[in-house]
């Protein structure tokens, strides 16, 4: 791997046509800001943040469903902390908590399942969001519950996969920085398939050197004029991914259509529990009514997630939408574009 000076020099000397590179990983959004990567790019290279933050792409209706389970079905909601302040159509989980909803923050879905075991009098629902990085642990909590015969545990799923999202985003960028953590689980075969559809990208790590290497690799290969799929994070990402994690996903989940904030419904882009574990699917267990979320008309998270609008171009940004008082999910999540832009925004 070249050193940072050489990489920076190569990138800054790029004098070709305008290039748009999209990253689709919340950690990449955060690290690119933290390391000031954008500031060293020449004006003919643009880095766009895409729908990489799983909290941000979760639609309002999911929060509404969780609140319905809490307030109408008296369920104890267990969730990662990131979701607690995400606005739903009327209120966030924190708002529901002030109306008497039981909302518990957990650090692992396995803790949620153990909580259910220790509190048989409560119906415990874990809010299962995230890409393939978090799906295995979420699914494992269900397997544990199944093996123990627990009747008071279930998960509300909004898990997603990027595979079909890339096709929807294909015209938003000339190449993608493929998500490092997700690729550890999935491996790289998808990216070969995307190459066949004319979509290019490189798997990217998280240090300055790894990110600059990935950008330099994209420049080099775009200049060759043919679609490409390369792995710039080989120390951690293997072509076959993580077979054990993939097996858990295969044994417990099945593909479904999913609604993405900003992108609408993308076919086969979600994961839900398969028939064997259907009793642990909170929607089926509680016969949850269909809830259509209501968008706040002022919120431009949808366009931001597609890379069509920069956070600071949203009229709410920094005024009535801040990390302390968010209007949209992109401002709440620690890895959301708006939150990163707000926290790290330079002068």
């Amino acid at each position: 791997m070249k050193d940072i000076k050489e990489l920076t020099s190569y990138i800054q000397n790029y004098s070709g046509a305008q290039i748009k590179i999209m990253e689709v990983c919340g950690t990449h959004t955060h690290e690119i800001f933290k390391q000031g990567i954008r500031n060293i790019l020449p004006s003919n290279i643009t880095l766009i943040s895409g729908p990489g933050c799983p909290v941000c792409v979760t639609p309002n209706s999911f929060i509404d469903e969780a609140i319905a389970l809490a307030l109408e079905n008296n369920c104890t909601i267990t969730t990662f902390g990131d979701l607690v302040r995400v606005p739903g159509s009327e209120m966030s989980l924190a708002g529901a908590r002030s109306k008497g909803a039981k909302i518990n923050v957990v650090y692992s879905p396995l803790d949620a399942e153990i909580y259910a075991e220790e509190h048989p009098e409560e119906q415990v629902v874990f809010l299962s969001v995230g890409f393939e990085t978090t799906v295995p642990a979420n699914a494992l909590s269900v397997v544990h519950a199944y093996n123990k015969g627990l009747k008071n545990y279930s998960i509300l799923t909004a898990n997603k996969t990027m595979d079909n999202a890339y096709s929807v985003l294909k015209d938003s960028a000339d190449a993608f920085l493929y998500p490092g953590h997700v690729s550890v689980i999935t491996g790289t075969s998808l990216y070969e398939k995307l190459k066949g559809q004319g979509i290019s990208g490189v798997v990217c790590g998280f240090t300055s050197q790894e990110i600059l290497t990935a950008i330099a690799t994209i420049i080099e290969n775009l200049e060759k004029g043919k679609p490409f799929a390369l792995n710039c994070y080989p120390s951690v990402v293997k072509p076959e991914g993580n077979p054990a994690a993939l097996k858990i996903i295969k044994d417990t989940m099945k593909s479904c259509d999913a609604e993405w904030r900003g992108l609408g419904i993308i076919k086969d882009s979600g994961l839900e529990l398969n028939d064997m574990y259907a009793q642990y699917d909170a929607r089926k267990k509680f016969n949850l009514r269909k809830i259509e979320g209501k968008q706040n008309p002022a919120c431009r998270c949808g366009e931001i997630l597609q890379g069509k609008c920069r956070p600071d171009e949203c009229p709410c940004f920094g005024k009535n939408c801040t990390p302390e008082h968010p209007i949209g999910a992109c401002m709440v999540s620690g890895e959301g574009s708006c939150s990163a832009f707000y926290k790290y925004n330079i002068l």
């Binding site: 950690t27 800001f33 933290k34 390391q35 902390g81 953590h181």
Partner: protein, 347 residues
């Protein structure tokens, strides 16, 4: 002001300063109320004994108070007792004072094991001896079970400022070097791991230490120092923002010079935490003219607990009130200001 007190109000960041500024200062306003860690007053006061000039003193009395509620009470590197002495003497030392006398008040929960209390008292005695202070008064209260978590300790400390020393949070000047006396975030990381909420095993020892002898040694070698602050809750990052605001200057931080142990880096990487905002309990942040920096480092390196002192940044006139990080790729990004409470990441 917020309607209810939240954990964020005690985190040492923006909400804490808002609470102090918006509430306590409002009701306690007087010319001696300090923004620094300890108050400096002329002793005795000018109007003492009807202004009798014979009673005028020329001592600068330095006084501070601190509350200790750490959980767990025992941790790798110390316990709440040791912490209570270190925190108090360090606050006095940072105002250039030799700490002399301490008082302590205990609030103890019914059922607290005597053996644990003995360990705490022993640690307090040992640390007080090392710091050269006497504990000269105290109070003990016991509450019913569940009315306090184990034991809380409040201390008050007094000392006398050395002649010719003038340090304070508003005295940093453009051109000053920013020095830290060892690796950061140790105490905060140690406590996180001791609480065992994340299932992470790592050998992280609290940096809890009495620093008064190091400070006195330094001030005996040179008095050309503008600010000495001990970084406690909120970490080094919070100190930088406090000084930037009090002194109305900017601070440039060199990312690659900030010392972080591999263990703390690893834990922070896993949990998405910024080491600059993890608590320390034995680290000073010193602002002094650049020309004097090498002298100061030489003096600190001779002393116990400050052997690993190093320069991590400099004070600048641009961007007053902000901390700008020069990243390892030579780019600039803002250190997000302190505030809020820690939330776990989803992915």
């Amino acid at each position: 002001m917020d309607e209810f007190i939240t954990l964020a109000h005690g985190a040492g960041g923006r909400q804490t300063s808002d609470l102090i500024g918006g509430l306590f200062k409002k009701y306690f306003a007087n010319e001696n109320l300090t923004e620094d860690d300890a108050a400096v007053v002329k002793f005795p006061p000018a109007d003492f004994n009807n202004g009798d000039s014979a009673a005028q003193g020329n001592a600068d009395l330095v006084m501070t108070t601190d509350g200790f509620i750490v959980s767990p009470q025992e941790f790798n590197g110390g316990n709440i007792g040791k912490l209570s002495i270190c925190g108090t003497v360090n606050d006095l030392a940072c105002m250039g004072a030799k700490p002399l006398y301490l008082t302590c008040a205990f609030v103890i929960e019914e059922g607290f094991p005597f053996s644990k209390l003995e360990k705490i008292a022993e640690a307090m005695g040992k640390t007080a001896k090392e710091a050269g202070v006497q504990i000269i008064a105290g109070d003990t209260k016991v509450t019913g079970k569940g009315q306090v978590d184990g034991i809380f300790i409040t201390t008050t400390g007094v000392g006398l400022r050395l002649n010719g020393v003038k340090t304070g949070g508003s005295l940093a000047k453009p051109g000053d070097a920013v020095i830290v006396t060892g690796n950061i975030g140790q105490h905060g990381c140690c406590i996180l791991i001791e609480r065992n909420e994340f299932g992470i095993n790592a050998d992280v020892k609290s940096d809890c230490a009495p620093l008064c002898n190091s400070v006195l040694g330094l001030l005996n070698d040179t008095k050309d120092v503008h600010v000495i602050r001990d970084a406690t809750r909120g970490g080094v990052g919070t100190v930088l923002y406090e000084i930037a605001e009090q002194s109305k200057t900017g601070i440039k931080l060199f990312q690659d010079k900030v010392p972080v142990s591999p263990e703390v880096k690893g834990v922070c990487g896993m949990l998405g935490l910024e080491p600059l905002y993890l608590a320390c309990e034995g680290r000073l942040v010193i602002f002094a003219p650049k020309e004097n920096a090498e002298n100061i480092l030489a003096s600190l390196k001779k002393q116990k607990y400050t052997e690993d002192s190093c320069i991590i940044g400099e004070v600048v006139s641009e961007n007053p009130g902000r901390v700008i990080v020069e990243t390892e790729i030579g780019s600039k990004t803002m250190l997000p200001p302190p505030g809020g409470e820690l939330l776990p990441r989803i992915c």
